[in-house]
């Protein structure tokens, strides 16, 4: 696959002028990346607020909470919070920040390109995502409120309208439409990422010299390209069932509060689950792969050592991506699906643990023999490894259908996906933020506050999610708005209380991050050096923040791989990718001046 990217000066759009062109409808991948990041930042605080209200209501139901007309939260309000928390976190945070946020900003730079392949499409992707967020959040404000069917939105609950529950009318419709718009935006983004990586790499940037962050963004984009179309199709069919009298997912003979549903016949609720999870499982890898790329990148950079097993890391990510499309049925062991296919899905799921384990071994191998520098970003990268192990191992229980009989739809599942996807991916986002903030904004985040933020968060998330495994084992179903219905839950309420307190503290700690972030944008210590972390990849060879075309017309040539640390005989313990062999050997430029590393 040839990739002769001539960075022709005339090709790059000229520097934008005017506020609208520069900051609103910008075509610059860096601005668009920041826009996505801010969208995700807003969404994560919205998502956390929703879960905070949930946690308070669960254990102190008598408390009068804001936004609950009438004082006490009703079960449907709880379920609406739950639905929107999951939806906003998965789509607007975990699918945007790591990929569309950081990927947009740094993929072109790390491969030596001056922008994404299709800047106009890029701009459209962001604004389409923005519209989808607006449409989704609008669900809160329509009559009946937000939907109550969970982020998975299983029919018939999601198909029958308001007769099956509040929020299932206009709220559910807005949710589906918002999601469909999001699918379209993601597809556009995926096309851009893959094309850019294939066709616009600078001279010398072979595939096997790409940073692991780029590999992660590439594979994630491929997953998105192949998965989001399926969700879009499912949304279209569900909308038709709701509004046009079709019966893709709704069978006949239903009775809701003594009323016979005569306008549906023959549909299959399980068909929705197949379509949704065929998308849904790759989606969780979309959420975590960029974090894995960032972890690899940071662990190498701050251990001052090459990544252990670069090729194995690439093959592992490729295997995870590929296998990720074959395991969707493990969400459906209990659904009424054939038990024989359940077993096949189980075997594939156990297999997907293998490449994940290989990555973990290699992370440990990278640290081994290193000279570890404990910057805040490195702390989050190390935390990522711990959380990935914890969250990944609980998957081995759920992957076995016999055990899933007991644990499906309990808090054990909630613990699993929060640790492996929610928290680990968030740690990846935090690690990336502390690492790349100086490059993006020309100032550092405060490391002292950052370290406090790290400790409170790391301890906090384990306090929240470790106990949930025990809740699940003890049989505590998920998505329960109230703990006084099922009697055997009463002995588990103290555990829930502990979790809520931990959640309160952990969510509160994120305000430290928010303060640090906003304050540092204007008041942080200036990043006068181009390469404060002594890193090797191309973004550290340009000013902070970078010029509009990234390389000021001087697109680099790449001479080596991305993790050349501790090379014996080299003048420094790192060799940037773009130094010529002569510069690398002597530490001096052709004119004799020290290489500005």
């Amino acid at each position: 696959m040839a990739s002769h990217a001539e960075a022709v000066h005339a090709h790059v759009h000229s520097a934008p002028t005017g506020f609208i062109r520069k900051y609103i409808f910008s075509l610059d991948h860096k601005v668009i990346g920041i826009q996505y990041y801010f969208l995700a930042l807003f969404s994560v605080f919205l998502g956390m607020s929703l879960s905070l209200l949930m946690r308070i209501h669960l254990v102190w139901p008598a408390i009068h909470l804001p936004f609950t007309p009438g004082g006490q939260m009703t079960p449907e309000q709880y379920l609406a919070l739950l639905t929107m928390h999951g939806t906003i976190m998965v789509f607007m945070v975990l699918t945007t920040a790591p990929q569309s946020g950081f990927g947009n900003y740094f993929l072109p730079i790390q491969i030596g390109a001056e922008d994404m392949a299709f800047p106009v499409l890029n701009m459209l992707s962001f604004w389409t995502t923005f519209v989808s967020l607006v449409v989704m959040v609008a669900a809160f404000f329509v009559s009946g409120g937000a939907p109550i069917g969970g982020w998975t939105s299983y029919p018939p609950l999601s198909a029958l309208g308001e007769i099956v529950g509040p929020g299932q009318g206009a709220g559910q419709t807005l949710w589906i439409v918002g999601l469909a718009i999001f699918c379209a935006a993601s597809l556009l983004g995926a096309i851009n990422f893959i094309t850019t990586t294939i066709d616009l790499r600078a001279k010398g940037m072979t595939l096997m010299r790409m940073p692991l962050t780029v590999w992660a963004w590439l594979i994630t984009a491929v997953l998105g390209l192949l998965a989001f179309g399926v969700l879009l199709a499912a949304c279209a069919l569900l909308l038709l069932d709701r509004t046009a009298g079709t019966s893709f997912f709704v069978p006949g003979g239903l009775v809701v509060t003594d009323q016979v549903i005569t306008w549906h016949k023959g549909g299959s609720p399980i068909l929705w689950q197949h379509l949704f999870w065929f998308f849904g499982h790759p989606e969780v890898y979309i959420a975590i792969l960029p974090g894995m790329g960032v972890a690899s990148h940071l662990l190498s950079t701050f251990s001052r050592k090459p990544i252990f097993g670069y090729r194995a890391m690439v093959y592992a990510m490729l295997s995870i991506g590929f296998l990720g499309f074959t395991v969707w049925g493990h969400h459906m062991f209990i659904s009424g699906m054939s038990p024989y296919s359940a077993f096949a899905f189980s075997m594939l799921t156990m297999s997907i643990g293998v490449p994940s384990a290989i990555k973990t071994f290699n992370w440990l191998g990278t640290l081994w023999g290193g000279q570890i520098r404990f910057t805040t970003s490195m702390l989050f990268a190390l935390g990522f490894v711990s959380l990935f192990v914890s969250g990944g191992l609980s998957g081995l229980f759920l992957a076995q259908p016999a055990i899933d009989l007991a644990l499906h739809d309990t808090y054990f599942v909630v613990a699993h996906f929060h640790l492996i996807m929610g928290v680990a991916a968030i740690f990846g986002i935090f690690a990336a933020t502390y690492f790349w903030f100086p490059k993006m904004f020309g100032r550092f985040l405060n490391e002292g506050i950052g370290k406090v933020h790290f400790w409170l968060t790391f301890i906090g998330v384990y306090c929240i999610f470790m106990p949930m495994h025990f809740l699940g084992i003890a049989g505590h179903p998920r998505r329960y708005a109230d703990l006084t219905g099922v009697q055997y839950l009463s002995s588990l309420i103290p555990v829930q209380r502990f979790i809520s307190i931990a959640a309160f503290i952990t969510i509160g700690s994120q305000l430290l991050f928010l303060f640090n972030f906003l304050w540092s944008l204007w008041g942080g210590k200036k990043a006068t050096e181009m390469n404060p972390w002594e890193a090797t990849t191309l973004e550290w060879s340009i000013p902070s923040p970078p010029p509009f075309d990234n390389f000021a017309g001087h697109v680099p040539t790449v001479y080596r791989g991305p993790y050349e640390f501790a090379v014996p005989g080299a003048p420094h313990d790192y060799i940037p990718q773009n130094l010529t062999p002569a510069e690398a050997a002597t530490g001096l430029t052709a004119s004799g001046a020290p290489v500005k590393a």
Binding site: H11, F118, T195, K203, V558
Partner: protein
């Protein structure tokens, strides 16, 4: 191992940057073109449309598997005769693939007038196709076969509507290629035409596939 230097001496030997990339050229582009266009972005355009078609394919594959599953799970599937006009529409669409190919080659030869005519003809044929699909719908409605009548008809309307919408998008793309000025753009009209043609052929092939599905699946 390429790209991995381990000693100072070996660093010397890695000067050849491997299979990646061309040189950073400041003098205005690929020698011989002199018009600011870049082979890299031309290639990117083809990559882009191919990827887009991958995404669209997955969308229609999801609908196809839904069709197959839905047909298999219940006993209420009722076949209905497909309107005959569909076959005429298919012929029109196949013809339009032929004309768009002719148009593209005319442009490649520099026969701009021929290109414009054949391009417009393709768009016209596309519109006739869409009109023909609407006729097919009218025929079905006259026989009392609507979207919600039966799962078989639901899929018929859904598949033809979604394909038709994508084809209309293609017609818009054809207009864009014909009408915009390609001055100072990263790629030329020829690349734009190639991208649009690839999309168009795919829509053609997709229609044949869907028609087969609807015919055999009855």
């Amino acid at each position: 191992m390429p790209g991995v230097a381990t000693t100072t001496e070996e660093i010397e030997l890695q000067i050849d940057p491997g299979r990646g990339g061309g040189a950073a050229i400041r003098d205005g582009g690929d020698p011989g073109r002199g018009d600011g266009q870049s082979p890299a972005y031309q290639r990117a355009s083809i990559t882009g449309i191919t990827l887009a078609l991958g995404g669209i394919l997955m969308f229609f594959l999801a609908l196809t598997s839904s069709y197959i599953v839905r047909r298999g799970v219940t006993t209420d599937w009722q076949a209905f005769p497909l309107p005959r006009v569909l076959w005429a529409n298919t012929a029109v669409l196949l013809l339009s693939s032929f004309t768009i190919e002719m148009a593209r080659r005319a442009l490649g030869r520099g026969a701009v007038a021929a290109f414009r005519n054949l391009w417009a003809l393709t768009s016209g044929l596309g519109l006739i196709f869409v009109g023909g699909q609407l006729l097919a719908w009218r025929e079905l409605r006259a026989e009392g076969v609507f979207l919600s009548t039966n799962p078989s008809s639901s899929f018929f309307y859904v598949l033809t509507a979604l394909h038709g919408l994508h084809l209309l998008g293609g017609i818009v793309a054809l207009a864009y290629v014909a009408l915009r000025s390609w001055q100072g753009s990263k790629v030329g009209r020829a690349t734009g035409a190639e991208v649009a043609a690839i999309y168009w052929h795919f829509m053609d092939g997709l229609w044949v596939f869907l028609l087969l599905l609807l015919t055999l699946g009855r």
